[in-house]
Symmetry: C2
Subunit: 347 residues, 2 copies
DNA sequence: ATGAAAGCGCTAACAC
DNA sequence: GTGTTAGCGCTTTCAT
């Protein structure tokens, strides 16, 4: 009676060490190679053998060791999601949080594992090394400053996709998926025009990054094709306070305004309070359309008409693209996601 | 002239394959074992040799291969962050998003890598297997439903820490770090009392999970020690809309209310609008204190007095604890993080 | 303090 | 279709 015989037929999800492929092979009475084939669903294995092996796997509760697999196959099955710390606020930003969610959700259905990396600027080359050190099969980079794309160069050595169009597409390496900011802003502004607004202002965003530039451009396009003046521009950064100040400056110009498009919902929220302070109503006196469709857009009073960017879809798309890139597919450098106008009460 | 001789003295951050430990050894003129020791900062290596090796490493731009290292050392250096999909909205929730951020930030300074896992309920045992299959050294679980702690049993087999107290601490396995919801709610309510409120209502949260239970308890404690009646309770779930409805019910009771504590800022936002509709002022007629200190708390009008939970600190703490657990330290099962009252204009 | 050698658990030719 | 046999790049006794 050998040790083998003593082993219970149904090994309990048991004890100490994880079962190895070799143990599965022994139990199924086949070679390790065959087990490996079954695990990797190779087509050339008899159905009977497959069943045999799968039983053994189930009985032993076998799980392949990733490190060993990766070492032997020279594939890591991991995809890094790099979040530059400057944009560490990513998680403060519902948009990015959702992108991350989309990525994770997509990858959950694949054999890839998601590696979340916060790349502080001070050790950005620790990150760089990590990425190029053969520790990941591909990378995703999300950042506010799609402008600074400091990881841009990695594109040549590793499948990588950026969230957001680089400031300078011709110059950048790698793929990116972007939201169609121009179209989003155009449609938003058109909504104002269709409503009858004829003096339409905008609180634009930072002009040193693509979204800011594109949304302003979309606003201009819409006004241009309606023959409306486009000089009512003030800039805001991020917070509602910025929006409030910009709105004050707009009102201070003394020219009547009946429509407002803002770079973000947050900016719109700030503008709301100033409009009210001025004794004006929304949308009665000034109709407003925001951008982002963030959590509070439907909450503020009146509920804000805004542009939805489907961030989880964007995240999923980014993930899908790296995976295909890893598989060697050729893919367009740019992928643009559509936006959708969400009409509520403010315009 | 061998291939060796052809190799340039300063290998450019170059080409195809990543340099291996063996290449470093060759260049430094030592054995692989020594290089390994240097890489792992073993104490017993001569300073000179260390320098030699480090030069070689720098010149070759060597990065250890994680898979190989992990296979040989039987450690993965990976920590999983499990986000049950039910709570997939985690990322919609700024609180959780920040916890994730805290975890990532903490781990960025260690040699651990963060594995983000979305565990859908349908394949929760795919996740379970993955975790127990020796693919990670430890796990972090964040969830709204800390009640269902379905990963609770893993605690025996893997270092694991939960975000949020389990519904039933005695029953649960594993460590957890929780925010002191009782104290947070108590202090918030005391603020109302100190302000002179004597008829204090609450819009409580779901009573099937710890935070909901604890915050309601904290409210009760405060009222009890001030001898104030504690029957003005209505429940809300998550959204501002829930808050609005709850507020309506509260007002419909016909009893005057001069103070309100809500389970969340979102609920408070909803209550705001109803209070206004009723022609009441904040904080004049009704002072309100929220909970979470989320992004909009300072934005709404009037800026909301609320309770800040320092979620990134909580995330960092969770990460710190798994790491110490992995290192074999003994740690208290429960860790409680403090909260802070943020006074603004609403109370 | 350093080197030699034996694996870690798996995949991938290559043979049969 | 299945088994044999080398490694993948690193850590880790065990000598020296």
């Amino acid at each position: 009676m050998t040790t083998q015989d003593i082993e219970p037929t149904r090994a309990p999800a048991s004890a100490g060490q994880s079962p190895t492929l070799e143990m599965v092979a022994a139990r199924a009475g086949v070679s390790r190679a065959t087990v490996s084939r079954v695990v990797n669903s190779s087509p050339k294995v008899t159905a009977e053998v497959v069943a045999l092996v799968q039983n053994a796997i189930a009985e032993l509760n076998y799980v392949p060791n990733r490190a060993a697999r990766s070492l032997a196959s020279r594939k890591t099955q991991v995809i890094a999601l790099v979040v530059p710390e400057s944009a560490a606020k990513v998680f403060d930003d519902p948009f990015f949080a959702s992108v991350v969610q989309g990525v994770a959700l997509y990858l959950a259905d694949t054999d890839y594992t998601l590696n979340l990396l916060i790349a502080s600027e001070t050790k950005s080359d620790k990150t760089r090394r990590y990425l190029l050190g053969g520790n990941v099969d591909g990378a995703l980079v999300v950042s506010h400053h799609s402008g600074d794309h400091s990881y841009t160069r990695l594109g040549q050595q590793l499948p990588i996709v950026f969230g957001g169009r680089p400031i300078n597409p011709e110059t950048a390496e790698g793929h990116y998926v972007d939201v169609d900011n121009v179209a989003g802003a155009r449609v938003a502004t058109q909504r104002l025009i269709e409503r009858g607004c004829r003096s339409i202002a905008t609180i634009a965003g930072p002009q040193d990054m693509p979204p800011g530039i594109d949304r302003l451009a979309g606003w201009r396009e819409a006004l241009a094709s309606a023959g409306i003046d486009d000089s009512l521009i003030e800039y805001g950064d991020y917070s509602p306070d910025d929006g409030a100040e910009a709105m004050r400056r707009l009102l201070a110009r003394g020219v009547p305004i009946d429509g407002l498009f803002t770079y973000s919902d947050q900016l719109a929220a700030g503008a709301y309070s100033v409009i009210r302070e001025a004794g004006l109503t929304i949308p009665g006196d000034i109709a407003v359309v925001g951008y982002d469709d963030d959590r509070y857009a439907s909450t503020i009073d009146p509920p804000l008409t805004t542009v939805n960017q489907a961030p989880t879809a964007m995240g999923a798309k980014m993930a899908e693209i790296v995976v295909r890139l890893i598989d060697g597919e050729e893919i367009d450098t740019a992928t643009t996601m559509p936006t959708k106008l969400v009409v509520r009460d403010s315009a």
